[in-house]
Amino acid sequence: MSASDTHAMRRGQGEMAPPSAIKLNINDQVRQLEVDPRTSLLDALREHLRLSGTKKGCDHGQCGACTVLINGRRVLSCLTLAVMHEDDEIMTIEGLGDPDHLHPMQRAFVECDGFQCGYCTPGQICSAVGMLAEVEAGWPSHVTADVSSPRVALTDDEIRERMSGNICRCAAYPNIVAAIRGSAEGGAT
């Protein structure tokens, strides 16, 4: 980008973009909302739709607390715009399960005591669900000895590497790993 572009951009500021009326498919429900184009998916979920299960940690893509599933894939809702996700299937922690019908991963976290304060937990659980689907699909990771091998053995090293985008400030990591391993093996107990 040139310096003159930079100045042109600065001149272009000041006018507010009109709000966009969008439809988002969240937890199998179509929700209509009006958002400023700047609204992150995270803020749309929390502030517009009152789905506060998804947490805002750093808001810069470093902590993983805002992880949701979009079309089955784990992504950071703080680093994407709500207006970019019309036509997508968005799944948040509220859609995975509720206290009466826990998702197996949620149950595993409870049974393994995979948290202390719980703030990172929704992101950890959404990330873990997405991560196990990636393992199921045979995706390699940084600790996979041979990336050309089509199968992945879900060792603790693999779980830790694949979950490195989710920070737990209470450092409940050993129990988080146990919960994920338990869930992957089909039972947390």
């Binding site: 272009g12 500021q13 893509g61 950071l76």
Partner: protein, 348 residues
């Protein structure tokens, strides 16, 4: 974040035309751009969302190479069976970068043009010629542990943060670009990036009215490919130094090699000097050391990053040994007295 208007592109050429307007920018994965917009480092007045353009495929080329669409996600490229078996260094580089969540979003084209992680570039209160041309460089004389040792200038000592682009450089990739008038061109990845010189805000040869549509990988050289990354944490961290190497060895002699370094320069650093020092030489540690000395001959430290010169040499030796198939041979490094005679210098 400053206000902007948004459009979702459905046609590739129309998208290129739309971005030519002043203040407009493409957005795809958004994982770098939106972060920079939150920090007021980037402030586009219009965003053209190209994430749904039909540029996601990874296709076989008639010559035995591969074409990776610019909108292919980093995780899809890393997991593609053809990439994993024929270009394993690319897969290794991709999975060594960022986190699972980010790789699911980040696009191939966006990864190529992501901005430096120099903390002064991010800090709008600091001088930065890249963010604010002419203001100066706070990294020179500042905390510069992560900064460049090769190809830097007195205007900018930032590094390019991509792992993917380092592997692509060792794999002789070409970048495919499209203009609004429909004309296309291909640029070798080494020519795509620019050194900082006195215009560090101009990072690539990409025009204001151009879009990256794909990356072309030629058929791989026979031989082993390795990507090795050295960093402050074992995961989810940028490289201090990384090396992508392809080594074609035959009965103990290196026939051909490709070497690229990451974390050391304003661009992925192809080392033809190291490649020349390897060609037709025995696959021994002495050869790797000579290649490492050749690669780092012009290296300049800035104080906190002086260690990177030695680290780059050692990482290069280790990676070459692995790529030449001698990964179990014990690796020994130059003794301090030998190091004193080697090329790198320190300039604070």
């Amino acid at each position: 974040m400053r206000s902007f208007t948004y459009e979702r592109a459905t046609d590739t050429r129309a998208a290129v035309a739309a971005v030519a307007r002043p203040g407009a920018k493409f957005i795809s994965g958004g994982t770098n751009l939106l972060d920079l917009m939150k920090l007021d480092v980037e402030y586009p007045s219009h965003l053209v969302d190209i994430s749904r353009l039909p540029l996601r495929d990874i296709e076989e080329l008639p010559d035995g190479g591969l074409r990776i669409g610019a909108q292919a996600r980093n995780s899809d490229v890393a997991a593609d069976p053809r990439v994993r078996t024929r270009y394993p260094a690319l897969s290794e580089a991709l999975v060594s970068g960022a986190s699972g969540q980010l790789r699911n979003k980040a696009s191939t084209g966006g990864n190529l043009v992501q901005r430096t992680r120099c903390p002064y570039f991010y800090d709008t209160a600091a001088d930065c010629n890249k963010r604010d041309p002419g203001s100066g460089c706070a990294a020179i004389g500042g905390f510069n542990r992560i900064h460049a040792i090769l190809g830097a200038s007195e205007s900018c000592i930032a590094t390019h943060p991509s792992d993917m682009a380092v592997a692509m450089t060792a794999l002789d990739a070409e970048i495919e670009l499209l203009r609004a008038d429909g004309s296309a061109r291909r640029v070798a990845i080494t020519d795509f990036y620019r050194l900082p010189g006195d215009t560090p805000h101009i990072e690539t040869v990409l025009g204001d009215d151009e879009m990256i549509t794909g990356v072309l990988l030629p058929p791989p050289l026979p031989g082993r490919q390795v990507y090795r990354k050295v960093r402050d944490r074992a995961s989810y961290e940028f490289a201090l130094v990384s090396v992508a190497a392809v080594v074609s060895a035959d009965r103990g002699t290196i026939r051909e090699a490709r070497v690229a370094l990451g974390g050391v320069a304003h661009k992925p650093w192809r080392s033809v000097e190291a490649e020349d020092a390897l060609t037709d030489r025995p696959a021994t540690m002495d050869t790797y050391r000579a290649a490492a000395e050749a690669a780092l001959r012009g290296a300049v430290g800035r104080g906190h990053n002086d260690f990177k010169i030695e680290l780059a040499k050692r990482t290069l030796c280790r990676t070459l040994a692995q790529a030449a198939g001698a990964s179990r041979e014990p690796v020994s490094y130059p003794r301090p007295d030998q190091r004193a005679a080697s090329g790198g210098t320190s300039q604070r």
